[in-house]
Symmetry: C2
DNA sequence: AATAATTATTTTGTGAACAATTTAATTGCG
DNA sequence: CGCAATTAAATTGTTCACAAAATAATTATT
């Protein structure tokens, strides 16, 4: 009975499409929740991620931010220039290796951290799920992402 | 001991940041896996989503595609114009309600479905996880997305 | 019936995201 | 040493994603 076997594998295969769409649309939904919270800080979500990275470790090369955020320089260069224009970071060629551009927080960039402390609570409340549930979901997504990264060309 | 209480809530709050980043970066990783598979079809991932919707139900207004994909017309109008330029769909004002633009598959658009059948297997393999795991993850993400949608302004 | 309110789509402007190419600096190797 | 290979950023061009405003058609209201 090839018909039923096809139907079963069809269902299994459709699932990967559905999972990807679930991830895609959840990412958009997260962005919609972050947007009003971050608007007060004058940041977009990717800019917020870059600031989070810099609040953890300051004076890092573009490459390192890219490694942390899984983004390439083609995305980060203009993003970091916008943060520079906003007066939150400085971009300077590294003396010891002129290929690198080091990103450093300004006083305003460091000061923004205080205001940003209000953001996670807003997100947590919007998720409306228990801490253990969120933790498990996060770990499973990271596992999935690692598999996808490994499979990518 | 306010210090330990702060530390505990801090950890819980950081989690929502981490979960969002997990969703965000997994969406990018999925896209990287889809890209070479969809390139053969001449589609991007959002275009593929639109085609999937049309293969399920043809001759629908832009609004309906937006409802299914959680995208607004500002995103869809240019995307659908590109599909039209590629010869996969036609865009025509609806006679009964001239506000609507109905999207209809061309013969080439319908024919592309055959080639697209190879895509889900590639994705499934790249996920590298069992069907039950993927199913559970998908359902949890949809629950999360619904909560986020409800919380969004 | 005239007009106000609503609805569907398009347009405009901003900011990602990434492939591919370019530029410039450093490292490696014969 | 000298030149090839590598590395880090920046640039260019295409495609999302969405807010806000504009356009045009339909429906509701007085």
């Amino acid at each position: 009975m090839p018909k039923s076997r096809d139907a079963a594998s069809d269902t299994a295969l459709k699932l990967s499409n559905q999972l990807c769409f679930a991830v895609y649309s959840t990412a958009l939904a997260f962005n919609a929740v972050y947007k009003p919270l971050l608007e007060r800080l004058g940041l977009t979500y990717p800019q917020y991620l870059a600031m989070l990275a810099l609040w953890e470790q300051d004076d890092v090369p573009v490459k390192e931010i890219g490694r942390l955020l899984h983004l390439d320089s083609g995305t980060l260069t203009p993003l970091l220039k916008r943060l520079e224009t906003a007066g939150l970071v400085t971009r300077t060629r590294h003396r010891e290796d002129e290929r690198q551009v080091r990103i450093t927080l300004t006083a305003a960039g460091r000061a923004l951290r205080e205001q940003a402390k209000a953001v996670p609570l807003g997100i947590f409340e919007a998720c409306g799920l228990s801490t253990p549930t969120l933790l498990k979901l996060k770990d499973e997504l990271i596992t999935l992402r690692e598999r996808l990264d490994a499979a990518a060309p």
